[in-house]
């Protein structure tokens, strides 16, 4: 995200520097599990003035390929990046911001927070009540199934992360229980096209933050149940059940060494199935009204999520069957270094489409920041361009005229 912004700043001849705590594409290098591939197909790997030009436009990049792609973009764009520079504090001053780093201090008139939404795994407080005998993992500490002890594994959370990890862990021969809360079900392909092709072509992905009903809720939605594989496989809860994963409700409490799960699983399935079908209906309607039927397959409807006749409500954490828990319960941004009063009481940044509630301060790469695609590489360009436009006009306004 920072690199995309840099490209837009360079295009406007705005003097700037990109601070990177590690190397370019650091989070892709260090904070992802081994098997992860991008959720977006290669043809959507597009940054301002730069795009994927390989032989497999419908494939999904491995982490190694993502790192190479981003590193090449940084060189191609001549991004003035200062690596191994961790920001330790940002404070306002009369003209802008004082930025303290592990590699010297800077002053700037404007600042773009491009550190994203996934700095720290977000683990619920009830994890503290899990018996010590159970090993806990997060998507940051987990690399592959061999990291886990032999024996049962509870994966908590059914976002893209949770379903992907549950799938590869059950395939390693470990019994997996997946605790499912509110989730977003999507098929990998629909009517012969990648579902993200549909999101893009039909305009859903370009829906803007100020056109969405209840954007606060949409910003908190878990990532869709998608996986990028060479087979373009769908990884929904039916696929996981078929692979032998036991589905249980939301983890509600740990009491007397027992994990207690909600009995409301069936309704979560109904909600996700209905929402998916509404979205597919939107795609069908778009294809019909835009005369695109000829280039796609026939409309499809997928089997409803199969609910277990009676989902398990308790899991004994002390009888030795369950050995580890993977907390796939999302991520949160880390603003501990930001000494500017722009964080609300839920820890979220106060901003209007990335224009933060402090003069000259901007954000990129947060969920539905300006449009639905804002957190995808594919969405970086449009957001960066618009915010840099705003930033440029801010810089062009005389200081006295600013409120």
């Amino acid at each position: 995200m920072g690199l995309a912004a840099s490209r837009c700043l360079t295009a406007r001849s705005i003097d700037h520097v990109v601070l990177e705590r590690g190397e370019v594409a650091n989070s892709w290098r260090r904070e992802r599990w081994d098997s992860l591939r991008l959720l977006t197909p290669n043809w959507q790997s597009r940054l301002p003035g730069y795009q994927y030009d390989g032989a497999d436009p419908d494939g999904y990049m491995t982490m190694r390929e993502v790192i190479d792609f981003i590193s090449r973009f940084a060189v191609f764009s001549g991004v003035p990046v200062r690596t191994h520079t961790t920001v330790t504090c940002v404070k306002r001053n009369d003209a802008g911001y004082d930025v303290a780093t592990t590699n010297g201090n800077l002053r700037c008139r404007t600042l773009i927070l491009a550190s994203g939404a996934c700095n720290v795994p977000s683990v619920p407080a009830l994890s503290q009540t899990v018996p010590q005998s159970i090993q806990s993992f997060t998507p940051f500490s987990y690399r592959n199934p061999s990291d886990l002890p032999q024996g049962g594994v509870l994966v908590v959370g059914a976002s893209a992360t949770g379903v992907q990890l549950a799938d590869e862990i059950v395939r390693s021969g470990r019994p997996v229980t997946l605790s499912v809360g509110e989730h977003v079900r999507l098929p990998r392909t629909y009517r012969g096209r990648d579902v993200l092709w549909w999101m893009d072509a039909s305009g859903v992905w370009d829906q803007r933050y100020n056109e969405i009903d209840d954007v606060t809720r949409v910003r908190r939605l878990p990532s869709p149940q998608l996986i990028g594989t060479p087979e373009r496989a769908t990884l929904d809860l039916n696929a996981l059940s078929a692979a032998g994963v036991e589905l249980v409700g939301r983890l509600a409490a740990v009491r007397d060494g027992q994990a207690l799960f909600s009995g409301g699983l069936r309704n979560l399935f109904a909600l996700a199935d209905l929402k998916m079908n509404r979205l597919l209906g939107t795609f069908d309607e778009w294809a019909r009204s835009h005369a695109r039927e000829a280039e796609v397959g026939l409309p499809e409807r997928f089997e409803p999520t199969r609910a277990p006749a009676s989902s398990r409500l308790k899991l004994d954490l002390r009888n030795g069957e369950l050995r580890s828990i993977v907390w796939a319960t999302g991520f949160r941004p880390d603003y501990s270094w930001l000494d500017v009063p722009v964080i609300d009481d839920k820890g979220h940044l106060r901003h209007d489409g990335g224009v933060v509630d402090a003069p000259g301060l901007y954000a990129l790469g947060l969920p539905v920041l300006r449009r639905r695609k804002s957190t995808f590489i594919y969405g970086a360009g449009d957001d960066a361009r618009e915010l840099v436009d705003h930033l440029a006009s801010y810089l062009a306004t005389p200081v006295k005229a600013r409120s």
């Binding site: 509600a252 409490a253 909600s262 009995g263 409301g264 309704n267 909600l271 209905l274 509404r278 009676s310």
Partner: protein
């Protein structure tokens, strides 16, 4: 989304306004519901409900309700009223039904009739202390709605799903809650 021609008798605008007004008032959103119960004889009791606390102050229902509870004659009781566990079904049914009306109103869907049947399955070996592996309460609850409305089947199902998602009673049945019982 609210269309003026639709009237399910729910003032959705007032609820939406309240949601907006309460954003800056975290204390006003804390409610306490109350009930006071008195033993009659045998398994028969009467519970009175009137006052509650909310919006930062004491509140009261317009009238006091008195609800009896007892057990049926096959349990060697006098059957003055429904059993306590049946009140759970009453609570769930009325909560989901209120939710259906409110969600339908908010989505501009006119309801003509909303009926539901509830079944709670329970093995009484639990309460009789015959088998400690059998739980005391329901092990399965089934709610079947029959809804006549100006909407497609999917829309109706979505309304029922949303009603469950926002139901206090559904939540308290499907999720654990801390319970403290003490003697003064």
């Amino acid at each position: 989304m609210t269309t003026t021609s639709v009237n399910n008798g729910v003032n959705v605008q007032a609820l939406l306004d309240a949601r907006e007004a309460l954003k800056g008032a975290p204390e006003a959103t804390k409610f306490t519901w109350r009930a006071s119960c008195k033993w009659q004889n045998g398994t028969h009791s009467k519970t009175k409900v009137q006052s509650f606390f909310g919006l930062g102050q004491e509140q009261s229902h317009k009238t006091e309700s008195t609800l009896g509870a007892d057990h049926p004659e096959i349990f060697a009781s006098e059957d003055h009223a429904i059993t306590p566990i049946e009140y759970v079904l009453v609570g769930l049914a009325s909560c989901l039904t209120a939710g259906v009306a409110a969600v339908a109103q908010n989505r501009g869907v006119q309801l003509r009739s909303v009926e539901s049947n509830l079944e709670g399955k329970m093995d009484i070996r639990g309460i009789l202390g015959m088998d400690s592996d059998v739980r005391n309460g329901y092990d399965d609850i089934k709610v079947t709605f029959k809804i006549d409305a100006d909407a497609s089947k999917d829309e109706i199902e979505a309304i029922v799903a949303q009603s469950q998602k926002r139901s206090a009673v559904y939540d308290v049945i499907t999720n654990p809650v801390n319970v403290t019982v003490e003697v003064k």
